[in-house]
């Protein structure tokens, strides 16, 4: 199952390659689905990481994930999973 010869990797035109870093992905996800508000995200850049951890914990709780408050593998995987566009929190 594992390829022996090195694989040529091609960049395909028009491919929507997500250039978001994990942190940017997390922020946009938490914002889009209502787990964080603009202010909380701004606060994070003011070295208040508490707000991101709080929002992550809120998301992990709602989605039934392990509540670590960290951007761990299963949380990132959940953020990339196909889903409904309706926010989880708020209007």
């Amino acid at each position: 199952p594992l390829h022996s010869k090195p694989q040529a990797v091609v960049t395909f035109p028009g491919e929507l390659v997500s250039s978001l870093s994990d942190l940017e992905l997390a922020e946009s996800y938490l914002l889009r689905f209502g787990y964080a508000t603009e202010v909380e995200v701004e606060a994070r850049t003011g070295s208040k990481h508490v707000s991101l951890a709080k929002a992550l914990r809120r998301m992990q709780k709602q989605l039934g994930l392990e509540e670590t408050g960290e951007l761990d593998a299963s949380t990132l995987e959940a953020m990339r999973a196909p889903r409904c566009g309706v926010p989880d929190v708020g209007s």
């Binding site: 694989q7 196909p82 566009g85």
Partner: protein
């Protein structure tokens, strides 16, 4: 469950819906049927009724669209956001929108519904045999008019049943031509076109003229997607062209060459190296029925649930035999009441001839089976001489009480990714589960009652803590004598577990301890791409793992193999 702020709900029970446009991925009738079944999910448990109307303003307006589609909440291309809907109310409230950059199916791959021919609109059967050759796509072989067709049974040579596949040469959708087929070439803005085009449109839908001159006659229609239509890339909807050249090599089927994510793609011209036109090949796609049932839940006033198995859970996962979860039923009945639907049937009593457990314990099955007490954590002696990392394979692998258990020749090791404590053991099977044989074939834990089922040869045992039931013959479960070694199990939720043996699997109803009707089924039909002679099959971190030799194939709940690796290095994390 959750409802929207203020318990938004409809002020009348007889609701109407209207499908404004259709995805080219599926035949109209397949989409209409899926939406009808999706509404029935809710009308079955409430007094609500749903009527499709074909003009004017309906309570629930349904549309397909891509990216920004008119409501200020844009979609995001393939995957990611699949759809959204608005809570009950006037105007856009209650409406449901579906992202047409997704590949819409019934959840298990492309649905190619035929027209005309002699099969009454049946779906294509892939592969099919024609003149001794096997076809896994529509073909124009045997015809001079270039119309793609397929057989609707496994062998055209034998059954002579066929139909014509979706193509712009057969019909168009929407537009102003009552479904007439495209006319090629046609003139548009002075240019001649000999295939469907997205020119002149901003929504990416492929269209064509249904007369030779659009500039003059203004007659047009939208092109249905052919069975080899690509998804995304830079040629949405165009058919693959086989063979095509890529990096100097010729390909006559979809390939994952050139990619690191393993996704299958193809070129939509004969030479990718020169033309750079490509797209993804049809995958299993998303079930329009399941997504629609979820979105209609929003349209009726339900918000997202945090119960993973609930329909209103926000993340998509394909379920084969869908049943509304109690959490969803409580939510919708909180808003609209029960309605005249069937009363919930009483639980089927456990088979009486089951021997009573040797120890005093619960013998009657209550409405909610009592959860078996955790086995008291008596210290179990460890044999440090046996190292799991030295084993080439294992008799059985399964997760028990949150820890992966690796069984081999009467010993077992545990590994917990949660406690980061690495591999524990080797422990003795006989110490923990007295009465079990040294070598077992498979095991699984019933998530509801925490009982552990063990299989060895043609027998099985059921442990509730230390108390044992069995051995009993697997034929008591309804598994035929011909079935060989049970190789593993996958818990499916709602008291169902899939048992694998050879190239087949059965679905066990754990409560009544019988396999459901309609089984066994061929593993390859659903779990495509995994070894059919897997030695172990188990559920771990919500993904299906199939092991053969020292390798494992990991499959997502959407039945896509997303990793192949080493059991020892990737799962056991041996140095």
């Amino acid at each position: 469950f959750l409802t929207f702020e203020g318990d938004l709900k409809w002020d009348h029970m007889d609701l109407t819906y209207r499908v404004i446009n259709y995805s080219p991925d599926l035949d109209h009738s397949v989409i209409d049927d899926a939406f009808k079944r999706a509404f029935k999910v809710w009308s079955d448990v409430t007094p609500l009724t749903f009527t499709q109307i074909y003009s004017g303003e309906a309570d629930i307006m349904i549309m397909f669209g891509s990216q920004e589609h008119g409501d200020g909440y844009p979609f995001d291309g393939k995957d990611g956001l699949l759809a959204h809907a608005f809570p009950p109310g006037q105007g856009i409230q209650g409406d449901a929108h579906f992202d047409d950059d997704e590949f819409w199916t019934l959840g298990t791959g492309i649905v190619v519904k035929t027209r005309h021919g002699n099969a009454n609109g049946a779906e294509c059967h892939f592969p099919f045999i024609f003149e001794g050759h096997s076809y896994s796509r529509c073909t124009t072989e045997g015809r001079t008019d270039g119309l793609p067709w397929c057989a609707t049974t496994a062998s055209y040579d034998r059954d002579k049943k066929y139909g014509f596949c979706p193509s712009e040469l057969l019909y168009t959708m929407g537009g102003n031509s009552d479904g007439s087929p495209c006319v090629f070439p046609f003139i548009f803005e002075g240019t001649s076109y000999d295939s469907c085009t997205t020119d002149g449109r901003s929504d990416g839908y492929r269209w064509c003229a249904t007369t030779a001159n659009f500039d003059q006659d203004k007659k047009y229609g939208f092109c249905p997607n052919r069975d080899t239509a690509v998804i995304g890339g830079n040629s949405q909807g165009d058919p693959c062209v086989f063979p095509f050249t890529f990096l100097g090599q010729s390909y006559s089927s979809c390939t994952s060459e050139g990619r690191q994510d393993g996704k299958l793609w193809c070129a939509t011209t004969s030479n990718y190296d020169t033309d750079k036109k490509w797209g993804f090949c049809p995958d299993r796609g998303y079930s329009i029925f399941l997504v629609a049932a979820h979105e209609f839940g929003h349209s009726l006033g339900l918000d997202h649930s945090s119960v993973r198995e609930a329909l209103m859970y926000p993340m998509y996962s394909y379920i084969q035999d869908f049943q509304l979860h109690p959490d969803d039923i409580q939510g919708i009945q909180y808003l609209y009441g029960r309605g005249s639907g069937p009363e919930p049937t009483a639980p089927v009593p456990m088979p009486t001839e089951e021997p009573q457990p040797t120890e005093a314990g619960s013998t009657s099955t209550t409405e909610e089976e009592e959860e078996t007490p955790e086995p008291t954590a008596e210290p179990v002696p460890v044999d440090p001489s046996r190292d799991a990392c030295m084993e080439n394979n294992f008799d059985a692998i399964t997760e028990i009480n949150g820890e992966l258990h690796f069984f081999k020749d009467g010993k077992y090791w545990t590994h917990s990714s949660f406690w980061k404590s690495g591999i524990q053991g080797a422990f003795s099977v006989a110490d923990t589960w007295p009465g079990l044989p040294a070598v077992i074939d498979a095991a699984f834990q019933d998530l509801l009652t925490k009982r552990v089922f063990f299989f060895a040869g043609q027998k099985f045992w059921v442990f509730s803590g230390k108390s044992m039931l069995g051995p009993r013959g697997i034929e008591k479960l309804g598994i035929g004598k011909g079935a060989g070694r049970i190789s593993g199990a996958l818990q499916r939720g709602r008291g169902k577990v899939l048992l694998f043996s050879g190239e087949n699997y059965w679905r066990l109803d754990v409560k009544v301890q019988r396999v459901d009707k309609g089984y066994p089924r061929a593993t390859d039909d659903v779990f495509t791409g995994v070894p059919l002679d897997a030695r172990n099959v188990f559920l771990y971190q919500d993904k299906y793992h199939f092991c053969r030799g020292s390798f494992y194939w990991r499959m997502t709940p959407r039945y896509q193999v997303d990793r192949v690796g080493y059991v020892k290095y990737d799962i056991l994390q041996c140095p």
